[in-house]
Amino acid sequence: MKLSIENLYKTFSGFVALDRINMEVGETEFVCLLGPSGCGKTTLLRIIAGLLDFDGGAMSLGDRDLVEIAARDRGFGLVFQSYSLFPNMTVKENVGYGLKVQKVDKKERGERVEKLLELIKLPDLTDRYPHQLSGGQQQRVAIARALAVEPCLLLLDEPLSALDARVRAEMRYEIREMQQRLGIPTIMVTHDQEEALTMADKIICMKDGRIEQIGTPRELYAEPATRFVADFVGVSNIFSTAWVRENLPKKMGSRPEGRENSFDFAIRPEQLVIDGRKDGADIKNMQFLGNLSRITLNWHGQDVVVELQGYPQFKVGSSVAVIVPDDCGRWVKA
């Protein structure tokens, strides 16, 4: 079933938390809500879950209008950053809890729980209590608990933020794989762009209660629509129209019509090339990151970041030339 949201609107005592949200989640799609803290992504997730009311707009799942349905009757699965396992129940009881609420009989419940524990690769820990598990294990149990009731939509609220870096990377892969195998439509909230890029079919990038751009990870990175997206997803060098007119006049040809400050030019650091034999830009700073080096230059009064692979041998303070290849860079809405 497809989740669709039209013109959703939400205020908190006068403050607009969500403004004209339009989005869809396809039947087997993994969608990430990405944005900085305070952008409204968690509010949106809680509204979808039915834990919060909204002020205007429409929300439906398949042909069911969700406005009419309380959180408890929606049949969604929800996983929190803080795991939120019942501390007084064992792993088995936690996973089987939703089934118990729905009065599924004991035998069937047992079988389902067993299957799920296998799915999350913790079949031996059935009788442990949450505090006896590591963070990653707890989060897996929380996911199994949400999946046990065969939810028609799985909602993940920053599920990986509380885990340490290595476990987080593992879990990214595991969650994605599980979701694909079960084919459950999933919405995940995250502020980590790398997480969104690696896991999602579709990313919804949000800022200040509005959707900035919707697209596949590739689209968002390669074709950002706004200055915010260009900057938030990955790193971009952003040049004003005036600066481009002065220093990169060739690029002006592709600029859409619009007022002077309604568009900026964005280009990724890895797209820029440095020519050490010419000059024009001064190297201010060099960072060695292992697989690449990040060089900050002053180019016509503007800070420019360039990322190069290999081990470039430039010196801080020396002068080099920056080359902008013809097909690189994009005009984005300011």
Binding site: G50, R72, G77, S82, P87, Y97, V101, Y129, H131
Partner: protein, 586 residues
């Protein structure tokens, strides 16, 4: 189609069940508050304006403010309360600092010693002082010195002993808030220990000290027990109001003094609220507790000082207990149980009444307050605000004023409420509403400690409020419920100020018996009766601690997991403070 309709009806009935649960858990406690708190207080306000001839005016106020006796009592009360507050702050800070930050020995003992006064009726301190320093006291017998213990000085010492534990608890909570990193930073910057104390410790405890000051002031100005026993000719407001109402049946005057007593208390409570918010708002979630090293130069004198204070508190209470077993204190020091053969004012009946009353108040309190706290999040925020305000209002009303208000509201023959007057149940109600705020706040903190995501998880699986209550809330609430129950029970066992107005020739309570026995000159029997009360309360306290211990042992995993979950450390911490808070204002 039929299954769809069936499902719809099921949904509807579930929703109805949910609403019904929330509605009734708000409505019943609210009705209670209206009838047994708001209504009586309105009567006091009304009565204070009603003149002898039935008309209304401010003549009562003028009368009170011009009658020399009462003006004197106001002055006395002020002097007494201010001095008690000053002493309690200095001593309280010393003890709190010693307990929280120093390396002195015997902390557990000290803590126990200084919480003794909370476990006994307020007049026990006065009683103990009489046995030690009075005309028939040990010191007089041994040295022949004639100490005038009745009056200001006796009352001052008794009040200090009585109010000190509460000051200590509050200041301790404030000192506990600090973060070791402040001190490490100061140390690295080269600040001496004394500088650190002046620049970090004191400023951080500022609001704790302030709120302790107001609590002590309030407790002292409205305390009745010590003033009745050791006040002698030193008349204070509390005794004055009692003699106006009970002695001279002058309800108008009593009401006026009641309203006047309300003012300092309300101001104090208000400032204390503001202060405590500021104090606790400033602490970070991941604070590292300050270590308690031993520095001989500081800790040896400090230890001697605070242990002296602790010993005085213990000696006073032990004296009362010993005197209860002595034939004729201090002249014929032979062991006897005769004092426990209490014949005056109903023998031991008031003790059983007290037990009954306390259990009733505690059961009622736990049920009402738990459901009220549980529903706070489930009603509209506006309504919740009003409910909250109403629920914490009783903390600003001294027991004496509440007592008078109950007399005015229930000592009537022309309406239904009059039926309650003279019954033990009314005393239970009075005690419950007297300690309503502290119990409520503790419950609210307890409910807040339940991770909201846990409740939401239940919701998403299709569980209603009943299930949320059982699976998400209750597992976290055990210790809170236990502490609220015993808090109300124990306070109810020892309180005197409100119930003194509600007793009749048939129904009386334990604390009043002690006072009556003392008034009648049977001081040894009064000591015996006090001992019985203390034993009951100490047993209750032991029961409480072992129940909480048992609970946390069987659920040790609960505590642990909570610590793993985000932000819960602060919740647990805040809860601890509030559990203390429970004890910090009478």
């Amino acid at each position: 189609m039929s299954s769809a309709t069936a499902q719809a009806t099921l949904k509807k009935s579930r929703l109805l069940g949910d609403t019904l649960l929330v509605t009734s858990s708000v409505v019943f406690p609210l009705i209670g508050l209206c009838i047994f708190f708001c209504y009586p207080l309105f009567l006091v306000a009304g009565k204070s304006l009603q003149l002898a001839d039935g008309t209304y005016g401010i003549a009562n106020y003028i009368n009170v403010l011009t009658s020399p006796g009462i003006v004197k009592a106001v002055g006395n009360s002020m002097i007494l309360s201010v001095s008690t507050t000053a002493f309690c702050l200095v001593l309280g800070f010393a003890v709190a600092f010693a307990l929280q930050r120093s390396g002195i020995g015997g902390k557990r003992y000290l803590r126990g010693a200084l919480s003794l006064p909370l476990l006994a009726p307020s007049l026990v301190q006065a009683l103990g002082l009489l046995f030690l320093l009075g005309r028939n006291g040990l010191v007089h017998k041994w040295t022949g010195w004639d100490i005038e213990i009745y009056g200001f000085w006796g009352l001052l010492i008794a009040n200090i002993l009585y109010a000190l534990p509460q000051a200590i608890l509050i200041i301790e909570a404030a000192l506990r808030q600090s973060d070791a990193r402040y001190y490490e930073a100061a140390e690295i910057l080269g600040a001496s220990k004394w500088r650190q104390f002046l620049d970090i410790t004191l400023p951080n405890a500022k609001f704790g000290i302030l709120s302790a000051g107001f609590v002590v002031f309030t407790v002292t100005i409205t305390d009745f027990g010590n003033a009745a026993v050791i006040g002698g000719n030193f008349k204070v407001l509390a005794t004055e109001i009692y003699s106006q109402v009970v002695g001279q049946m002058n309800f108008g005057m009593g009401a006026v003094i009641g309203i006047l007593l309300l003012l300092p208390t309300l101001i104090a409570v208000y400032i204390e609220r503001v202060a405590s918010q500021k104090q606790f708002g400033g602490s970070s979630e991941s604070a590292i507790p300050v270590s308690t090293g031993f520095y001989a130069k500081r800790d040896v004198p400090l230890g001697i000082f605070v242990h002296t204070i602790g010993s005085i508190a213990v000696i006073v209470v032990i004296t009362v207990i010993m005197a209860s077993f002595i034939k004729l204190w201090p002249y014929r020091m032979t062991f006897t149980l005769a004092n426990y053969n209490i014949t005056l004012s109903g023998g031991y009946a008031p003790l059983w009444t007290s037990l009954l009353v306390s259990v009733e108040a505690a059961v009622l309190g736990v049920i009402f307050l738990f459901f009220l706290a549980f529903s706070m999040k489930r009603i509209s925020p506006k309504l919740a605000k009003i409910v909250y305000l109403l629920a914490v209002l009783p903390v600003g009303v001294p027991g004496l004023v509440l007592g008078i208000s109950y007399v005015l509201a229930f000592n009537v023959s022309d309406n239904m409420l009059g039926v309650l007057y003279g019954s033990s149940f009314l005393i239970a109600l009075c005690n419950f509403y007297h300690y309503h705020s502290q119990g409520f706040l503790t419950m609210v903190t307890g409910v807040r400690a339940v991770p909201p995501s846990l409740e939401e998880t239940v919701s998403c699986f299709g569980g209603g409020n009943f299930r949320i209550l059982r699976d998400a809330v209750l597992p976290f609430m055990g210790p809170t419920i236990i502490s609220v129950f015993f808090f109300i029970f124990m306070r109810s066992m020892v309180t005197l100020s409100a119930v003194i107005f509600l007793i009749s020739s048939k129904v009386s309570v334990a604390a009043v018996s002690v006072m009556r026995l003392d008034e009648a000159g049977f001081t040894s029997q009064a000591a015996a009766f006090s001992t019985c009360i203390m034993i009951t309360v100490i047993l209750a306290m032991g029961l409480m601690n072992s129940l909480i211990h048992l609970y946390s042992k069987s659920g040790s995993r609960k505590e642990e997991i909570k610590n793993n979950q985000d932000g819960s450390q602060k919740r647990g911490f805040a809860r601890m403070i509030d559990r203390n808070y429970c004890w910090t204002s009478t």
